[in-house]
């Protein structure tokens, strides 16, 4: 397993001095300004910040949905200009296709980018087994609970065997009990796949629990304020959240975020 971590070379994301702007009423507004960061292969990175800090814009930039106005983002030295199956995306809302069964949702990606020997059906069956929903293979998404739907969403993104998994507040709509279980399961999946994960959230506990590194963002315009290494031992579980170090790290994030939230709040009210 350790060897695998060492040999993992794909899934390196380099964000090179990018800005993302949009125009609103003839005014150029920067969602992000002059951001640089390197995300290493197999790393679990959380982007943490108050709402409106441009963290989703950054993720959309990495996904290739939005192109930066200057600078560039690259995956394994290849510039990202459009979405590609090398990067799996898990969205905030439940975004399963309602007209496809659970199994068809998962096999959709593999069926349109055939690679390897496994058939799309085999891949779907394998991932359904992994998320523990094999019994629901032929159910439609609206027959599943929110947590189950989001598990299928993760399986669907992984079914293309991407190098990077991008997640945009994926557990935001779940109740806190389900969310904790989902977080623990996500870490298991991550260990299994040794995949690079970029996880956007505004939940401090979630970020500290999951990440190797937290990129703390400031608001208006969005910048990376602090690149915080999370040195909590792995595997992490319920006990982790009670440890002294966890509480310390949470404290650090908390004070930084609070500063930003107040700044953003005041700026909006000017």
């Amino acid at each position: 397993m350790n060897q695998n971590v060492l040999t993992r070379t794909k899934g390196k994301v380099v964000i090179d001095n990018i800005s993302i702007s949009y125009s609103s009423r003839n005014e150029q507004i920067y969602a992000l300004k002059d951001i640089s960061a390197t995300i290493n292969p197999g790393e679990f990175v959380c982007i943490l910040g108050p709402s409106g800090c441009g963290k989703s814009s950054l993720l959309n930039g990495i996904a290739g949905f939005v192109n930066p106005s200057n600078g560039k983002i690259s995956l394994d030295n290849k510039e990202i200009i459009k979405p590609s199956p090398e990067m799996g995306m898990v969205f905030q809302q439940y975004s399963l296709y309602p007209w496809k069964t659970v199994k068809e949702n998962i096999s959709f990606g593999p069926s349109i980018n055939k690679k390897g020997d496994e058939s799309p059906e085999e891949i779907a069956a394998k991932f359904l087994d992994m998320i523990g929903l094999s019994k629901y293979a032929n159910h439609y998404p609206n027959e599943l609970s929110g947590g189950m739907q989001q598990r299928v969403g993760i399986a669907r993104a992984l079914a293309n065997y991407p190098d990077v998994l991008l997640m945009d507040e994926p557990f935001g709509a779940l109740d806190s009990q389900t969310r904790i279980i989902m977080q623990e399961n996500l870490l298991k999946i991550w260990r299994e796949f040794k995949i690079t994960v970029v996880f956007v959230t505004h939940d401090i506990d979630e970020a500290v629990f999951l990440a190797d590194r937290i990129l703390l963002m400031s608001t208006l315009p969005g910048k990376i304020k602090r690149d915080l290494k999370i040195d909590l031992p792995r595997p992490r579980d319920k006990e982790t959240t009670d440890s002294k170090r966890f509480i310390e790290l949470r404290q650090i994030c908390h004070s930084l975020i609070r500063e930003e939230s107040i700044k953003a709040f005041e700026k909006q009210n000017q």
Binding site: F65, P83, I112, N142, K188
Partner: protein
């Protein structure tokens, strides 16, 4: 590499099985209620009609010359005894022919102008100019433009079916295209434009297209009387119009009722067929 226990699997299976049986029972119970209500409403409707004729109701609306339900039933019995199948067959063929050609062309053109700005600019304006023209107004041209009366009649029912199907398809496609999340999901999974169209835009437009087909089927029947004015000796619409010309009132109402019944039935069939393409949909009206 199964991830552990979100819940015991056998327990899940048992629960869903039990739930399904319960739902089936509920379904029968609820439906028997709605069927009773529907039956009562139909009986009340006929009683009210008979009553208004019986008292010779005449205030703004005049019921003096309106045939009673009993007279209409008698006219129907006479019609049934007098080789009715040629009439049914002629009318059904005209409606089905117009509906099928209207569906094929309406869905095809609707998909095109719904998904392409260029094609919309090129096609939508003339189609929009022709749309408000009522079927009756097409009669003279239908006679002049088509080689025989039969194809002219097909054209009239086609016009009725085509437009609702066209507009619903176009609007449904435009709606699906503006659902950015669905498109982004497809792009991030690696779908190209054709796959996005086939696997995402078309299925998510199906509910809208289905509504268009149901209205289109109704409209084809709507236009039947108009179509059968053109010529001919057969058809339910022709029978209705002929009775009016010779001032025989009960068969008029009988024709109207027959067209209503057959229109409602065929719309129901279309609805059921299109629903079978969308097994994922669950419609609940309890939320309001």
């Amino acid at each position: 590499m199964t991830l552990t226990n979100f819940s015991s699997k056998s327990n899940f299976y048992f629960k869903s099985f039990k739930k399904e049986r319960l739902m089936l029972w509920e379904l029968i119970r609820i439906n028997s209620k709605t069927y009773t209500r529907k039956l009562i409403s139909i009986i009340l409707f006929f009683l009210l009609w008979e009553f208004l004729c019986w008292i010779d109701f005449n205030f703004i609306i005049n019921f003096v010359f309106v045939p009673t339900p009993v007279e209409v039933i008698n006219a129907f019995i006479q019609f049934i005894n007098d080789s009715p199948w040629v009439h049914f067959k002629a009318s059904i063929l005209r409606v089905i022919g117009g509906f099928i050609s209207g569906s094929i062309l309406g869905i095809f053109v609707g998909l095109l102008i719904g998904s392409s700005k260029v094609l919309e600019d090129l096609l939508a304006t003339p189609l929009e100019l022709l749309r408000p023209i009522p079927a009756v107004a097409w009669i003279p041209l239908a006679i002049l433009m088509f080689p025989d009366a039969e194809s002219g009649m097909y054209y009239i029912t086609f016009v009725g079916a085509f437009y609702p199907i066209l507009i619903s398809t176009q609007k449904a496609v435009e709606n699906s295209l503006s659902d950015r999340l669905m498109i982004r999901v497809g792009q991030s999974l690696g779908a190209n434009s054709f796959q996005l169209f086939k696997d995402i835009i078309v299925p998510s437009s199906l509910p809208g297209i289905s509504a268009g087909l149901v209205i289109g089927m109704g409209n084809a029947w709507f236009c039947l009387v108009t179509a059968e004015i053109i010529a001919g000796r057969f058809g339910i619409g022709y029978k209705t119009w002929e009775s009016y010309v010779i001032s025989e009132y009960p068969p008029i109402v009988m024709g109207m009722v027959l067209i209503g019944l057959m229109g409602a039935f065929s719309s129901f069939v279309v609805l059921k067929i299109t629903d079978s393409f969308m097994p994922w949909r669950t419609i609940s009206k309890d939320g309001i």
